[in-house]
Symmetry: C2
Subunit: 313 residues, 2 copies
């Protein structure tokens, strides 16, 4: 049997026909039309799914289920999307609407959670029964797998590691709180820290890389400069790694998963990041002499969204 | 069938014969002899268990299993206690040693985890499939129940909420790290904050309560004074509740359990504490308009240690 996975984003929707091992056999894509009513958006997705199945040479009879990852909160039991700001959805009956087109089980969950599931089925954490996936981009998302199953919480509002508080009365966050994890260890945090230091250290090589325009600073410029030995960039990178190390140690101290998987744009820094994080985490865990989670980079890249959505059950 | 539960502490060991509903039918107690070799300590416990069974009128045939809660880290799979400072145990084969006396399944887990299990079977969180138990005393312990089962992590080092980091580079902790949760919301934290403020505010009613001796300050004096309106005590209590509120919100944002249960000495402050915490938590959770964990006080008190140990499986 095969499964359909939809990776629903604020700008585009990636759709795939996925086999049981997590390989994507056929792909489709549509542009997200956030101004259209919810039912029309689902209609467009359903049409794309049908096209993709037709194109693939398989039939609906070969499809076991349809799953979707959304950048928001979903109720796994009812299939309702409770909250999805980028798409303008609040309390929409995703499963019910999708089932008007397909008489198949329909699942929906948070996109970071879905990516974590993908890694745990077909990626770097395959074979581990518990893992926490941390996606480091503009913000921080996370997905928790316990006993081989997604754990999004009793009310579906869990695995929001990016908005756990890492500093009492710390940096103001877009969510309205202060001191949230993602204020210290996201791409946004790297950019903020770099701009602060560059104002005082215009001699940094990052200044050339951004053509003297601090608005052009991004996480890649900072990490590349740190890798090449720029002292200012190294300072930013170390602060970032320290906060990420403490965050990962918190996950170890609270949840103690078998593995912790780092994904998202910033994780593209690869072994430079991984080695630094692996060296930092042991400083903050409680039982320093006992085994704890293996920390690895995600393997599936952007495909994790489609694969994990297809694996929802 | 009945079960034996042992609540193993640094000064005493409480033992109980427990029925399937979590009622303690017969009790025994011995003094912890930390200077004796491990095998002698287990021998003393086993003798007490045998006495208790004899006294109860039941026989070994009525006993399904034996469980123990320890103030440390255990490997649930092997029945080994990895680490238990108060008892001087490091990598001791608890199950193996106990089974020399009883041909029964023997289980061992962390004491806070065991208390959380007790509440989830026979206490305030009975019937909820996920809960986090937080015991607030000298330090902070916790127990995590997910899908009706204990989750102590893949390596048994999880549910150490007291040593999650709540403040980057914050207060030094006895564990060697900085900014751990228990530096801000334990009895120890309340005492520290009260002493700091009393040095500048000797007019506080707490000064009389501790007979002018800051060494006599304890959490109860502070909370009682706060309840009676002492402004200095209220300041301490508010700081404590704020840190505890942020910690509980972190549990909601990451784990989203159905219930959060507050136990331990400080929770004896009752509804004065509970009302304050319930008012504080919503300030720090991410999805303020969505349902989240019900927060309640533990119900089983000190018996949770015996009952939960007996419920281990």
């Amino acid at each position: 049997m095969y499964r359909i996975g939809l990776d629903i984003g604020g700008t585009g929707i990636q759709i795939g026909l996925v086999d049981e091992k997590g390989h994507i056999l056929e792909r489709g894509e549509i542009v997200t039309n956030t101004s259209a009513p919810f039912s029309e958006q689902v209609h467009a997705m359903a049409s794309c799914v049908q096209d993709l199945i037709d194109r693939s040479g398989y039939s609906l009879l070969d499809i076991a289920s349809i799953g979707a990852g959304v950048p928001g909160v979903a109720d796994q039991k009812t299939g309702e999307v409770i909250f999805c700001t980028n798409l303008g959805w609040t309390h929409v009956p995703f499963r019910e609407e999708f089932r008007k087109y397909f008489d198949k089980p329909v699942f929906v969950d948070n996109d970071a959670t879905v990516a974590g599931l993908a890694e745990s089925v077909a990626g770097v954490s395959a074979g581990s029964s518990s893992s926490v996936f941390i996606t480091i981009g503009t913000g921080i998302g996370s997905g928790i797998i316990i006993n081989g199953r997604i754990w999004s919480g009793a009310h579906g509002v869990g695995s929001e590691l990016g908005h756990a508080i890492l500093e009492l009365d710390g940096e103001p966050c877009t969510c309205g709180n202060h001191g949230c994890v993602e204020r210290y260890c996201s791409a946004t945090a790297i950019i903020r820290m770099a701009r602060e230091l560059l104002a005082r250290h215009p001699e940094s090589s990052m200044m050339d890389a951004c053509e003297g325009d601090l608005k052009k600073i991004n996480a890649r410029i900072v990490i590349d400069a740190a890798r090449e030995g720029d002292p200012v960039a190294i300072k930013v990178f170390r602060r970032f790694v320290k906060a990420l190390g403490q965050t990962i140690a918190n996950v170890v101290n609270i949840l103690d998963p078998e593995m912790i998987v780092l994904g998202g744009g910033v994780a593209k820094a690869g072994s430079f990041l991984l080695d630094a994080v692996r060296a930092e985490v042991p400083n903050y865990i409680l039982y320093k002499d006992l085994p704890f989670a293996r920390i690895e980079l995600a393997r599936l890249g952007a495909d994790a969204g489609i694969i994990g959505a297809a694996m929802l059950s």
